[in-house]
Each structure stands twice: as structure tokens, then as C-alpha cells.
């Protein structure tokens, strides 16, 4: 039944590897984007904008504010906590420090040695630079305050909380996004060799051997999945090494979405191959399909930034959901929709495209 599956898959991979155009779109193009975007946006600010939510408003809290304001790396911005968190999510603040009421009481000489008074600090763990800088600064200031009150148990502590920002200047945003784009291209462009193999009668010639069509399709899918894994490793690797992106999610869930996304776009590629009679038509159709996907699916900037009339288009496009799922699972990105919805939408595209291509694909 599966005779020939692995040899044919290896032959397909070799064939792919020797096709310069395919190599360019699959590897060079996304890598170029990662590096370009990385250097354009990851220089990062030399000062970090920190929201200062003072819920106490006493001389003690004012003193603490002065201590933070004296740190040249930080620029304090006085705001309410709720508003501050909102701004941080939108990428306008790098971190938020909340001073709850009760600071003055806790620092009063002779106050009962209760548990230390905690400052709440929100940082975005996926933004390594700002997150670690702010946490270090806060730790130093708190340490200094505690030292100034030496002879007593530490009065101040830090309650550190993660908060996902949607900063544009963020490698964590575009590394999963560009991975999604690369997987999309890998699948959509599968239409071209498939149409070429039909046009050159290779599919017909294979049909004259005992190789089953199921094995033929399985081999094509397997080959694309193997390439998808390489793409993922390379793109994520560059993101980690060059731009300090860390993968915060479960690697198995990430891998699951990589596989699901690749297969959904591969099925879309097969639909294109079903409609295109020639290699040239498949080539043009694949381009026509990939460009709106690339620019209207929140790959280069969040969908919220798109004109409102275009946003329903994004909601329709499958790449929106793969990008969203990968950002959520890889770097804990802000959700466009819950992961379950991403899963369902991608599965829907996979099943529908597969059925359409199975119905309309002509082998010769």
C-alpha cells in the first residue's frame, strides 16, 4: 500500500532542493524579511516608557517615584492602573509599576514587621530587553530602599506580573507572523510543481505504475511537512539568536499549528492546481492568492491598525488565524481570537479545500 512512499518523498525533496525559485520563496524570502524587520525595528528605545500608577499619593510614594525618575533609563508617565495596562497592551508603554495604597504605613519606623509591602510590576516577557531592564531597575531601587531602612526585615518586595504588549517594534510579533507567511507560501506554491508535473505528464506516467494515488498525495504532503519543519527551525532559530525572541508556549502546540497550517495552505495550493491548466497559470494564480494573504492577514502589522473597512477581509483570510495561533502559542501574543477558533477556522479551510481539490483535480 505505501510502497514507494519514502523513495518518492526523498525524490520530491531532492527535486525541490534543486529548484532555485522554490528555494528562494521558501527560505531566502522569509529569512530576508525576518532579518530586515529585525534590524529595522529591534534597535529598541534607549529609554523605556514606564507607566506609574500611584494609588497611595503620599510623601512616601512621591519619594519612591523620585527614586525611579532618577534612573536615566526610565521615563515615567503618571497614569491610572487600568488605563496604563491598556496603553501597555497597545504598545505605548513598556512596563507599568503600580504602588498600592499602604506604602507610607508599611515604611513607618516602628511599623510591625509584617510581610513586606509589594509593588506590582507589569512587564512583557516576550520583549526581552525592556522586560529585563525594567525588572533589574525595579529590583535595584527596591533593594536600595530596603538597605536604607536596614536593621529591619525588608519592607518592600516586588510582585512581578507578565503582560503581553502589542508593540510593533517587536521581533516577537513578526517572527511567528513571518513563519506563518512562509508556511502559507510553501503550501500555496505547491500548486506550481504539481501543475508542472501534470503538464509534463509526470503524473500520468506515475499513473502507469502500481503507485497508488493515495501514496502519491501522501508523499507530496509529507515532503511539504518536512520542509515546513526546516522553515520553522530556521526562522525561529534566527529570531532567537539574532533578536532574542523566546518561545514561551508549549512546543507541541506550536508544532501542531505548524502542521495544521501547512496542510491547510497545501490544500489551498491543490485547489489552485485543480483550477490551473498549466504551470504558468498556476504560477499567476498562486501569486494572486498569496499577495492579499500576505498584506491583509496581520503579518506585518496588527489587524487593528488596518482601515476598518478592510478588517472583515482579514477575518475571512486563513492566514490571519495561523499568524494569530503562532503568535499566541510561540510568544504569548495578544489573541485576535481564542486558540480554539484558530484551530477550527484552519481545520475548516483544510477540509473544504481538500474536498474541493479532490473533486476537481484532474490527473491528466
Amino acid at each position: 500500500m505505501l510502497r514507494g512512499l519514502w523513495p518518492l518523498t526523498v525524490a520530491n525533496i531532492k527535486s525541490f532542493y534543486r529548484d532555485r525559485a522554490a528555494l528562494f520563496w521558501t527560505f531566502a524570502f522569509p529569512i530576508l524579511f525576518v532579518i530586515l524587520f529585525g534590524y529595522l525595528f529591534s534597535g529598541g528605545p534607549t529609554r523605556f516608557e514606564v507607566g506609574w500608577a500611584d494609588q497611595e499619593r503620599t510623601t512616601a510614594s512621591a519619594g519612591l517615584r523620585d527614586a525611579f525618575a532618577a534612573v536615566p533609563l526610565l521615563e515615567l508617565d503618571d497614569v491610572e492602573e487600568a488605563a496604563a495596562l491598556e496603553e501597555m497592551r497597545d504598545g505605548e508603554l513598556d512596563a507599568v509599576i503600580v504602588v498600592p495604597a499602604g506604602l507610607q504605613e508599611a515604611l513607618r519606623p516602628g511599623a510591625p514587621p509584617a510581610s513586606p509591602f509589594a509593588l506590582t510590576v507589569y512587564t512583557d516577557p516576550s520583549q526581552q530587553t525592556s522586560s529585563s531592564t525594567v525588572q533589574q531597575v525595579v529590583a535595584q531601587v527596591v533593594g536600595a530602599v530596603n538597605q536604607g531602612l536596614s536593621g529591619r526585615p525588608p519592607s518592600l518586595s516586588i510582585d512581578s506580573r507578565p503582560l503581553q504588549t502589542q508593540g510593533l517594534t517587536n521581533a516577537a510579533y513578526f517572527v511567528p507572523s513571518i513563519l506563518a507567511m512562509a508556511l502559507m507560501q510553501l503550501g500555496v506554491f505547491a500548486a506550481i510543481p504539481l501543475a508542472a508535473q501534470r503538464e509534463k505528464l509526470i503524473l500520468k506516467r506515475l499513473g502507469a505504475t502500481p503507485l497508488s494515488r493515495g501514496t502519491l498525495v501522501a508523499s507530496n504532503v509529507l515532503m511539504r511537512l518536512i520542509i515546513a519543519i526546516f522553515q520553522t527551525l530556521i526562522i525561529v532559530g534566527i529570531g532567537m539568536v539574532l533578536f532574542g525572541v523566546t518561545i514561551v508556549g508549549n512546543p507541541l502546540v506550536v508544532a501542531g499549528f505548524v502542521v495544521l497550517g501547512s496542510m491547510a495552505f497545501l490544500a489551498i495550493g491543490y485547489v489552485i492546481a485543480a483550477y490551473a491548466r498549466t504551470e504558468d497559470t498556476a504560477n499567476s494564480l498562486a501569486s494572486v492568492v498569496q499577495f492579499p494573504l500576505m498584506f491583509l492577514s496581520g503579518i506585518f502589522f496588527p489587524i487593528d491598525f488596518m482601515p476598518e473597512w478592510l478588517q472583515p477581509v482579514a477575518a475571512f483570510l486563513p492566514l490571519t488565524y495561523l499568524g494569530d495561533a503562532l503568535r499566541q502559542t510561540m510568544v504569548g501574543g495578544a489573541a485576535y481570537v481564542p486558540l480554539e477558533v484558530d484551530f477550527l477556522v484552519l481545520s475548516g479551510w483544510l477540509v473544504a479545500s481538500f474536498l474541493i481539490s479532490a473533486r476537481f483535480f484532474r490527473w491528466q
Binding site: 523513495p7 525524490a11 527535486s15 509534463k200 500520468k204 506516467r205 502500481p210
Partner: protein, 308 residues
């Protein structure tokens, strides 16, 4: 395999594409160990017929048996035992000769050694080269080599030498004769009458989806033409009225500068012609004798030339 039983039996095969009757009631048998040729112009229905036998097409009606199997029903077990070469070489352009032979070999329950096939088809020099870099002749040889990976008892070759230069054609003919010498049965299609004459034990002449005649090349020619032609450059000393009285001559014709004598008795005609020219002191009468060819048979049957 019972040698006496036909390897292929086709009876009253019909296949239409839309309103076009590609194959319109074709019947023939192919015997064990012979090279059988389907000869006809492009669009005669040769490819449709051969692809039905290969299990690539389903017939509209008619009975087909190949190696005792029905290609439409037992396609997979049939495909294990036949070798197929399509009209176009159909090779993955970026794979090498060796890689192609190996991957095709992997589809079969049993396959021949790659090195042996590379050697048999004279591809040693290009074995590491990608198929897109091969010459037309090398591609065709590779394509036939791929048809041989499963050591088939029956081989289908669809227009094997179309587009090849004369030297490459002759080389491929040698390979096909070798396959016949190994006891394999071969069904080939061609629109070259010289190819059919060179290779085929028996020929079926096809046109417009029908078979017009079946037989050995000799049968077909003698069935339609009992006469041979004797030709030479026209001389004023030998007027046509005189030539018409030469022994054996049935008819005299002029083709440009050439005189053509139709005769069933070539030695008698030439003997008298030589004596006549001797008497008249004519030097260097350049006489050629030509047997009518399949081309003439086709012309006779259809009223048009084969290669138009």
C-alpha cells in the same frame, strides 16, 4: 504464460471525447513475443488505444484483455507486469538518471538493478546528470529504461522515436530489437512507416479511430501492390511508347525527370531495359528498383500521405 494464447485481445473498442470518436470499433490481437505496430497519422486514435490497454483510460465499450487481465478492473496487478513509455518522456527535470531509475523501481514489487539498466541503455556517461540536461535521444532511452525497471513481459511504446535525429532513432531501434530478442512482447505506435517496416512483425494501419488493415509489412504491401517500380532518368532515346512494350511493364509514368515503369516481373523488365540501352549505345542508365512501401499502402487506403 501460454505462448500460443494472445497477449493482448481487443475487440470492438470504442472511446469518445465529447463528440469526437477517438476510437471507433477497433479489434486486434497481439501474439506472444512479437513487435506489433499501430501505424497511423496523428489523431488516428493510436494513443487512446494504447492508453486503454495500459489502464490509463477507461473504454466506453468493447472487450479488452491484457495478459489475461482487464485493465479497467485489475489495473494495479496489470501495472506490475507491463512497461509503459508515454508519448512525452515525462521525467522529473531535476532528478538524475540514477535517481529516476531508483524511484521508479521503488514502485514495483520487483525491480531490476539500476546499474544494469544504465548500462543496457547506454546511459553510463550521463548517469549523474539531471534529466533536463539530457539530449533528446538520451531522454527517450531513459524513458524506455524506466519502462523496463520492473522487468516487464509486455512493453508499450508510444511514438518512441518522434523528434529524434536519425542517429538517435537507429540507436533506439537497436534497443527495441534487443528487447524483442529477450522474448518480450512489444506494442508500439508510430507515424513513421520506415519505423514500422524496420521494427514490426505485424502492423495495424489506423485512421480516424478505425483499423484499416492488419498484417505483416510484406502482406500489406503485396495485398495492395503486386507490382514494383523501376525508375531511371528520362532519355529522349527511350520514348514512352517504346518503354510500354518492354517485357512485364504494365504502365509507364513520368515523375518530373524520372520515368517510372510498373512491373510485376522486375528481372525481365530490367533485362530488356539493359539490352535496349546497350543496343542504342546509352551509357550510365541509372536504374533503381523500388518496392512499394507502407506509405504507398496508406496512400492507397486513405488517399492521403501519412505524415500530413
Amino acid at each position: 504464460m501460454d505462448d500460443a494464447k494472445p497477449v493482448i485481445v481487443v475487440s470492438d473498442l470504442h472511446k469518445s471525447y465529447g463528440h469526437v470518436k477517438a476510437v471507433d470499433g477497433v479489434s486486434f490481437e497481439v501474439r506472444h513475443g512479437e513487435v506489433f505496430g499501430l501505424l497511423g497519422p496523428n489523431g488516428a486514435g493510436k494513443t487512446t488505444t494504447i492508453e486503454t490497454l495500459e489502464g490509463l483510460n477507461k473504454p466506453d465499450s468493447g472487450e479488452v484483455s491484457v495478459l489475461g487481465l482487464d485493465p479497467a478492473r485489475d489495473a494495479t496487478s496489470l501495472k506490475e507486469r507491463i512497461g509503459v513509455q508515454l508519448q512525452t518522456a515525462a521525467l522529473y527535470p531535476n532528478l538524475t538518471v540514477i535517481e529516476l531509475i531508483e524511484v521508479f523501481g521503488s514502485f514495483y514489487a520487483r525491480s531490476r538493478s539500476t546499474a544494469e539498466l544504465v548500462r543496457d541503455f547506454g546511459l553510463e556517461e550521463r548517469q549523474g546528470g539531471q534529466s533536463r540536461e539530457l539530449s533528446g535521444g538520451q531522454r527517450q532511452r531513459l524513458s524506455v529504461a524506466l519502462a523496463m525497471v520492473n522487468d516487464p513481459e509486455l512493453i508499450f511504446l508510444d511514438e518512441p522515436t518522434t523528434g529524434l535525429d536519425p542517429q538517435a532513432r537507429r540507436s533506439l531501434w537497436d534497443h527495441i530489437r534487443d528487447l524483442r530478442g529477450e522474448g518480450r512482447t512489444i506494442l508500439l505506435t508510430t507515424h513513421y512507416m520506415d519505423e514500422a517496416e524496420e521494427l514490426c512483425d505485424r502492423v495495424a494501419i489506423m485512421d480516424h479511430g478505425r483499423i484499416l488493415e492488419i498484417g505483416t509489412v510484406n502482406d500489406l504491401v503485396t495485398r495492395h501492390f503486386r507490382e514494383r517500380t523501376v525508375r531511371f532518368a528520362h532519355r529522349d532515346e527511350l520514348p514512352e511508347e517504346r518503354l510500354a512494350r518492354v517485357r512485364g511493364v504494365r504502365r509507364v509514368a513520368r515523375e518530373n525527370d524520372e520515368v517510372v515503369l510498373y512491373t510485376p516481373d522486375v528481372p525481365a523488365t530490367i533485362g530488356e531495359l539493359l539490352r535496349l540501352s546497350d543496343e542504342m549505345g546509352i551509357d550510365g542508365l541509372d536504374i533503381a528498383v523500388r518496392r512499394p512501401t507502407l506509405e504507398d499502402v496508406f496512400l492507397e487506403l486513405t488517399g492521403r500521405a501519412l505524415r500530413d
